[in-house]
């Protein structure tokens, strides 16, 4: 009987969770982070926005990450000048699973480990290898990028999940819903559902941009 009672209770909990709670609305306020003009009318929306975009942000390249662990790994592998040197001598590539202490000599070895031991998907989004070389064809300016960000996400692009880190990966297409962002300053519009995310923010992938790339105006 106790178990029946417990089961009924859980049913109640689960169905009530599915109904998205009516959050108390407050008067509109905007995100305090400079450069971010997102506006909110509930605290929960703001909290999630902040955690997604501003919390685990790389101070070098401004990319944001879902966790501190992934951010730390990113900084080590992408921005630590000693990393490549040390990686030649010892296993430096840490496993992405926080509880796992394994380290590997290459990004590929790490991915193999993630897939075979931890059963991670081979196209795990937060494990994109850094591009070491950048040839001329891979370099572009922010303005060029802005102009070429298509708005529509075609079905095909979405399906290309397994893609080499290129300037304009399908993921970036998805992340920037705005029409081609003009690089010039514009009056920040109050749009509740669109986010004017600066184009340099993405989830740990994409090639070098910003101050590392040559500027072409």
């Amino acid at each position: 009987d106790g178990d029946v009672h417990r089961h009924l209770y859980l049913q109640g909990v689960l169905t009530s969770l599915a109904e998205v709670a009516e959050r108390p609305k407050v008067s509109e306020f905007s995100c305090h982070i400079s450069g971010c003009c997102q506006v909110f009318d509930t605290v929960e929306d703001y909290e999630h926005h902040y955690n997604t975009l501003h919390r685990n942000v790389c101070s070098f390249c401004k990319r944001s990450f879902p966790s501190g662990h992934l951010l730390d790994i990113h900084i080590l592998e992408w921005h630590d000048s000693l990393f490549q040197i040390m990686a030649g001598k010892q296993n430096m590539y840490k496993c992405l699973v926080e509880a796992c202490a394994e380290k590997f000599k290459s990004s590929k070895d790490r991915k193999d480990h993630l897939v075979t031991v931890h059963l991670y998907p081979a196209d795990f989004r937060f494990d994109r290898p850094k591009k070491v070389k950048s040839g001329p064809k891979h370099v572009s300016s922010p303005s060029k990028q802005g102009a070429s960000m298509p708005m529509d996400v075609s079905v095909e692009t979405l399906e290309q999940f397994q893609v080499d880190p290129m300037e304009i990966g399908p993921s970036e297409n998805m992340e920037i819903p705005q029409p081609a962002a003009s690089p010039g300053p514009s009056v920040p519009e109050k749009q509740l559902y669109k986010s004017r995310i600066p184009s340099t923010i993405c989830f740990g992938q994409g090639a070098t941009r910003g101050f590392k790339g040559p500027r072409k105006k």
Partner: protein, 438 residues
Amino acid sequence: VLELLRAVQRGSEDRKRSLSRLRWALQNKETQQKFVRLDGSIRTLIGIFTSSLADMQMEAARCLHELSHSSDPAVAEACLPVTSYLLTYLSGHSVEFMELCLYTLGNLVVESEAVRKQLLPQGIIPVLASCIQSPHEAVLEGLGYVLSQLLQAKEAPTEIIPLVLDSVLPQHMLRLVCSGLKAGIGAAVEFAWCLHYIVCSHTANAALLSLGALPALTSLLLDLASEIPQDAPEGLELLVCPVLRCLSNLLAEETGCEVQIQDERLLIALFLILQCFLQQHPFIVQECLWLLNNLTADEPFFCSALLSLDLLPALLQLLPCSQMASVLVLTVLCNIAEKGPAYCQQLHRQPALPLLLPTLALPDPEVVGQCLELLHLLFLHWPEAAADFVTQGGHRALEQHQSTPELQERARALLDMVRQPLGASAFSPCHTTLSAFS
């Protein structure tokens, strides 16, 4: 369904609305099944779920959450690619988002062994172990839910519980259960059930005992009992039930542990709880009685306490509650009677017989059988009771059972006992009598 998917994939201005519409549609079972069969559907959802568009990410999470409600294992398996991301986001901070991830995981865990088999190597237990240190009640409750589902899996004793015991989870669970009355009862309820499932596996009790589970849970029961008269929070019975079970089962553990509860206030607490829940939630009665049985079975401490605290009348009052309650009350009385003449004397003086006699007339052989066991002990240790029994016409009730298969042997043995003249070999072992009784 296809249209909804296309609308979401198109990425137009209305994308968020398309996602919302998809979410509503996914409340329907068939839609859930159709959706996962569409090519690229889960991949699309994952794409948005892992993007940095916060509000769409949340909406995608809600879609996944809807999908997780499906009772079709094929749907759960279609969600396999999502699990690594669900776990990744549990290292995050948004309460609402984490809540969704947790409940989605919990639901998937229930439906599919394939999901569980994948989640363990993906590190779900360490992730949950860090989450349990979150201060957010909603996160803790969701976490408790996932754990409770994991712990009920058929492979839990061999695959899951060892991992849990190796982590910091058990001590935090205990802490959260015990602080439930002040901090948050929702999470306490979940973790209490988690502890119960762990205890039931019979693989973990030494570990739990060494964490101080017995005194901690006893203390909690005492607090619970003292809170009830004033302002019983809704759902308290959901916390009381697993705590009672944990205590009962831990006490039944044959570890030869020196750790004993010797606090007679526990008895008072038990009876207070009994009184409180008798009307609304009668199932609590048998849970309490189980604990009482385990408390009184071996050591005489609680038997003495029961008598000296004058709780016998309250116990006897429970006889007519239900079949299960009757059997348990009688078993507890047997535990007391078995302790010797002094105890039997007190039982008899209660007086117990006027209540036991009508019990003999009940139609349930299990109840009557337990009553016969009790009478046997009573007469053995306190022959005066046998004499009074006859005076009150009890032997006639015994005669009724001479033809009942499960009862006849014992009934006849008892009749022989009461027909023996008082004093003459009342204490000499009567082999036929003794062998008829356990």
